[in-house]
Point group: none
Chain length 224, copies 2
């Protein structure tokens, strides 16, 4: 689901935008100040940011500059002012597009789609994890044991990545179900089965695991 963050201090306009965006199939959330919006974007990044210019506290221009420092997200300014100076300044600050209120939601949506085509959204490379004699490359979708590639299924791979990401810490079956399968609830035995299959492939002695150990009553962990 594509998420949009709307930073706009006028409650009525913000709500109207949020509703219209939801109508268009986006997941929309709002912030009334630049500070709040920047915080939200840091903690839970949206795919697009809509920015008003006239905001209390940090104004839109400065907000855009700050956001651009560590985020490449497409930014569209939605402002009532149609002055060339503002448009130029906003684009110079790092905005990707500028539309003048009142804005047709269909146009806004089309502009977002146009921006999406240009977004370079391939995530930054993730480092290869080395755990014992295991090398895990989430980017390459590859796992090696002692240099030899190991063929894992999608579920096994995700499970291993999840465990590797929290290497050294116990993950409960519930946490794994949630994070690997996206299930909020479900049969915990399912995890056992997949851990077993994973062990067959990554452990020298599956019956006596060195990496992927069971913590009775707690869950599983990947030994660092």
């Amino acid at each position: 689901m594509t998420a949009v963050l709307v930073i706009e201090d006028d409650d009525r306009i913000r709500l109207a935008l949020l509703l219209a965006l939801e109508e268009e199939g986006y997941t929309a959330r709002g912030a009334a100040t630049a500070e709040e919006g920047l915080r939200m974007q840091r903690s839970d990044p949206a795919d697009y940011v809509l920015f008003d210019l006239m905001l209390p506290g940090i104004d839109g221009f400065e907000g855009i500059r700050q956001l651009r420092r560590d985020d490449d997200v497409p930014i569209v300014v939605v402002s009532a002012r149609d002055d060339t100076h503002d448009i130029v300044a906003a684009l110079e600050a790092g905005a990707d597009d500028y539309v003048v209120k009142p804005v047709a939601i269909k146009e806004l949506s089309a502009r977002l789609r146009a921006l999406r085509r240009r977004a370079r959204s391939i995530a930054a490379p993730v480092a290869v994890q080395v755990i014992g004699d295991l090398e895990i490359s989430p980017d390459a979708g590859e796992v090696r044991r002692g240099g030899q590639p190991v063929a894992l299924t999608r579920t096994e791979f995700r499970l291993l990545c999840e465990l590797a990401e929290h290497a050294g810490r116990v993950l409960s079956r519930q946490q794994l179900l949630q994070r690997v399968w996206g299930y909020d609830s479900g049969d915990e035995r399912l995890v056992d089965v997949h851990v077993g299959r994973l062990r067959q492939k990554i452990e020298a002695e599956p019956g006596n695991p060195r990496h992927l150990v069971t913590l009775r009553g707690l869950g599983y962990k990947l030994q660092r």
Copy 2:
């Protein structure tokens, strides 16, 4: 020097735009019809294209679609019509931005600069990629296998370039749909079909690929 192609049938407006762009430091050239513009862009590509919508012969929408077919150049529509339908249609056709005449040259220039940040083709003329026995020249639009030229269609070529650009990394079908086709969503089977066709051409043994491998449940990757 950054070159801009202006496709606009009204001589006065076209000349005014060309002069203003030169003033801003661009190298500007003009065409009075879409056909002429497309021919010019093919023979000597500009870095940006400005498109009018109401043109004799092939209209702007169709012109944009045809240009987009084999050119990733940033396209800005400059039109007198400010109707939402036109804006949406132009952006859907493949335009990156839409400004309404009369247009402030400073704004236009700022919008071009904003587009440059997002465009890949201008920033980095990509070198020849060598992957196994494959040589890929994104610039020349040429692919060789073991020194022999391989005839690829546009889609196949783009797909291969996209995979090559991220060689060694898995790209999901969604990522490929977005980056090769510009679709926000769509049938992922489409990717399968084109990967299959590409394999027929670049793999010695298409049924047992060495370069372009499937990662079940994850996507495809080009083996480095």
